[in-house]
Symmetry: C3
Subunit: 397 residues, 3 copies
């Protein structure tokens, strides 16, 4: 039986002091020990919640959320994480604000941050834009804090950008760490991050990029598989390659789904748009070329339709390690004959893995809360210990 | 002068142990003692608030609200109830989420419930759908909790479905209990739940159904009056009949508003749509038959217009018990020459009963809070006692 | 070094007992000592937050916000203020409610206020409407409280009406009090509240009106400058005149921007619509005269375009006191070649004053919180003292 002290002991063995008062943009900007600190705090917060120990560390304070597109699970994960720590979520929706009407990012960033302890941004639509926007936003509040305008500097949690989806990949990683009985057990495991057919086009690249950018750090054999033309950002592929070399694992790109699935311990079949097409679309939007966008969409759908055979079938699953690879997805999935005629996965596979899929998703609120926690407390071990000592129940008893 | 102990003593005399970790779908699925427990806790929470004793029993936790149509009073009642207990409301609006884009109910239910202690759903538009949706949703989270995905199982508060509107009818009941000086004084009182004309069509049946399904349990003489063709769901009429037999009251259906008002102690004149027409509309929506829907709407408006004489006038009020029946409405009402030319009630009657009408509405936040409280605490008497002992002020003093 | 006792001592010297359980509509309805109490409490709350002392005085309770048009900064300021004191914001958006569908103000006001401690309303669009609506709303809850419907009476914070924008002008005032080293140092300072060109029309009059209605009370030399035809409400100009006489300052209206800027200590160049035109537009909206509205808009834009020379340039700034007047704006500003071609201010001036402008805005959450605080606590000195004694940290430590 784990105790809170086990998590504290683990934290004591790690160096993560740079996380204090800092942001989370991309997993590959963080050290291995910093990532482990996040998983450890996430597990500790979950342990405390399950034992009815309040982890409310803020008496007041706001968590600002800025979603540039719709979202159920990430929105609820961020709201849950903020609530768990005592922060109130305030949405900065374009519909509710004057963001779209000529305000500069710098001004908006400061105006919403007078009492903000954290800001979560999701901006994944346009290549070259989302991550850059987050940096612009955070530069503004850093300056505002230095200039004495902001009493505190809110920390960023990247809730998905054009490059990475760190709250997703970190939750996915925590899921497999727990499924395989520890980080050390991931060494040598084969993970297939593969493209899959979807009747929609233009799904963000940040999930496959996030997965190959993170999972290559654990000594795993990572294969990224996709049809020709569905390349991810070359910079991220380079990072995955370098990571694998350093961790003693491997990283390769394949154009064959069967090759990726063969003997895999973990499969992650999911649709995404080609990087080059997304870049083109971003430019067309920039030029306001509506006809060009429509033509591109048509082209992309036709291109997708050539690859309906990229589907996670029972036959493919049978070729994985003992026929029992762990099936993963960030959800929602395009399920054959359920959410669409042809999709990413057949219904029988999806159904069999429903529980692990939901568990995979359940880590996200804790991962986000851990990111906030580590950015706000200089000595999180001490803070956790004090919370345990005070033992305020989450539900009155 | 009441003390908190009076409410606790009352609770000690009641059996409501099945409410713990359970949901509230329909009043007729609950025992009389369970309903009394709700009214008792609602009054106790109100007593504590009025005496500046905090009833914040959650340090953190979410109350999820899902409204399938617009709502002011129910939305604010749910938000007030959650806030009173320490839960933060998070809306699952279709506009804000991907609910409409092919996610299954099972998935959404789990994805939003990782840190949810309660979920309030309003889904009253389509016959055969709303209550069924709530069950589907709750089955999913029950399973999710069993499978270890959800650390806790959120409880449901039905904020209005196609069959019942239990937070409304329970608030209405608490209102008349207090107006008539106690539950025991309702025995033998005549209540007229009558249809009334409105220039809009398609108002939900859940209010009249909720009223006849609940008020027949208190030994009252309940008359449901409406023009021919405005029948409610036959199953609910059967329940009302059975209830009346058991409680020593009576239940009958009349097609004469004057007959219903005659000597009534309580009148509840309100428009609703015919059950059969709502069922037809539901099917037309299912078939996507826009022309059929438009034709039906026209037909329903014409049908309504034949019954403009179904209005709560001074003349009708004069025929009630001592000319002073308690006038009730769930609000907003269609008031003649105020909100429309011809409506449900004349302005002079509505004006005279404004205070009681607002009081009637004021019970809803407490009734909802009581439903949550009873589903979350195994021994609510003890919890209330401890809150009184701790005596944290709601407003600092 | 200030201590909390300094603020408490200051409060002890002021008479503000009428603020308890009262509303904030217009600054000129408040005494000088009441305004000073607000600034003092605002500074005290800021002092406590900066020293990590929680000012959460509500364990539960709602702050209702009602915005009739979009808003970023005021929305976030209100949310921050409520959160700082422990109130949860619940928006009464038309989109989310049935407000637009025939409900009377009286009914809505009561229905949303069962657990509301404060209500913030922004209704600045139509002349003669916003302030009147607020009064109607507050009369309703006052009555509801008297009649025993509302357990408590929520207080109003006017978040901008057609007449005044008191949370803006009070924040602006606190800004200059701090910039000039104290209220007493404002005596004799010259403040230029001047119109400036903007490519949009119909900006509210409440900012210039709020500024001349408040700043004339501090012994300042206030000049209101605008092109002919851009007059503000005559009643407010009268108030400004009377204020200036009483305070030993001055108030005059000029049609010459250079005249206003000459030797000014403070300049506030900002666009607004002519009062007469806004009144006309309000009537056209009332009559539903869409063509008339369009014609008026065209006319107003053409009228504006005649005054592009009303811009805050470096040349004008050079004519101010030592060339270093404090530049103020309520934000967002129309900046030349940044947010528009021609606007209210050249980019180099705006850039130079960015820090003071953001500081100016940073007072708003504290001013709003102070207004709430003073309306909710009969003895705020004692309440502040107790908060300091309890010393609950805002962020756990």
């Amino acid at each position: 039986m784990k105790t809170l002290q086990d998590y504290i002991d683990k934290l004591n063995s790690l160096n993560f002091k740079e996380m204090y008062n800092n942001d989370f943009f991309l997993t590959w900007e963080k050290t291995d020990e910093e990532l482990e600190a996040i998983w450890t705090v996430a597990d500790a917060l979950r342990f405390m919640r399950e034992n009815n120990i309040s982890t409310k560390v803020f008496e007041s304070g706001l968590g600002i959320s800025l979603f540039r597109d719709n979202s159920t699970r990430t929105r609820f994960s961020f709201a849950s994480a903020c609530n768990l720590l005592g922060l109130e979520v305030q949405d900065l929706d374009e519909g509710k604000s004057q963001v779209a009407h000529g305000e500069t990012v710098r001004e908006t960033a400061n105006m919403v941050s007078f009492m903000a302890d954290v800001i979560g941004i999701r901006d994944d639509m346009y290549i070259g834009k989302g991550n850059a926007y987050m940096h612009e936003f955070m530069d503004a509040v850093t300056q505002g804090n230095k200039d004495g305008i902001l009493e505190q500097r809110p920390s960023l949690v990247n809730l998905q950008c054009d490059i990475d989806h760190p709250t997703q990949s970190m939750s996915d990683a925590l899921h497999i760490i727990n499924e395989f009985g520890g980080l050390e057990n991931l060494k040598g495991k084969k993970l297939a991050m593969t493209w899959a057919y979807s009747p929609s086009y233009g799904k963000p690249l940040s999930v496959p990029q996030g997965i190959i950018g993170l999972m290559t750090r654990m000594g795993m054999e990572v294969v990224l598989a996709h049809p020709e033309g569905y390349e991810v950002m070359p910079e991220v592929a380079e990072i995955a390659k370098a990571n694998a070399e350093k961790s003693g694992g491997s990283f390769r790109i394949s154009n064959d789904m069967a090759d990726a699935f063969k003997d895999a311990d973990i499969v992650y079949p999911k649709s995404w748009a080609p990087f080059a097409a997304m870049e083109k679309r971003t430019n067309l939007y920039g030029e306001g070329d509506t006809d060009g966008i429509k033509a591109l969409e048509k082209e992309l759908l036709a291109q997708n339709a050539n690859h309906k055979d990229w589907c996670c079938t029972e036959e493919l699953m049978a070729t994985t390690k003992d026929g029992k690879a762990l099936y993963m997805h960030c959800l929602p999935a395009d399920i054959n004959d359920v959410s669409c005629k042809d999709g990413e996965v057949v219904a029988s596979v999806f159904d069999r893995y429903r529980d692990p899929l939901y568990k995979e998703a359940s880590y996200k609120p804790y991962v986000i809360a851990a990111m906030i926690f580590l950015s706000k407390f200089a000595n999180p071990q001490e803070t956790l210990k004090k919370l345990e000592t005070e033992k305020t129940p989450r539900i009155f008893e």
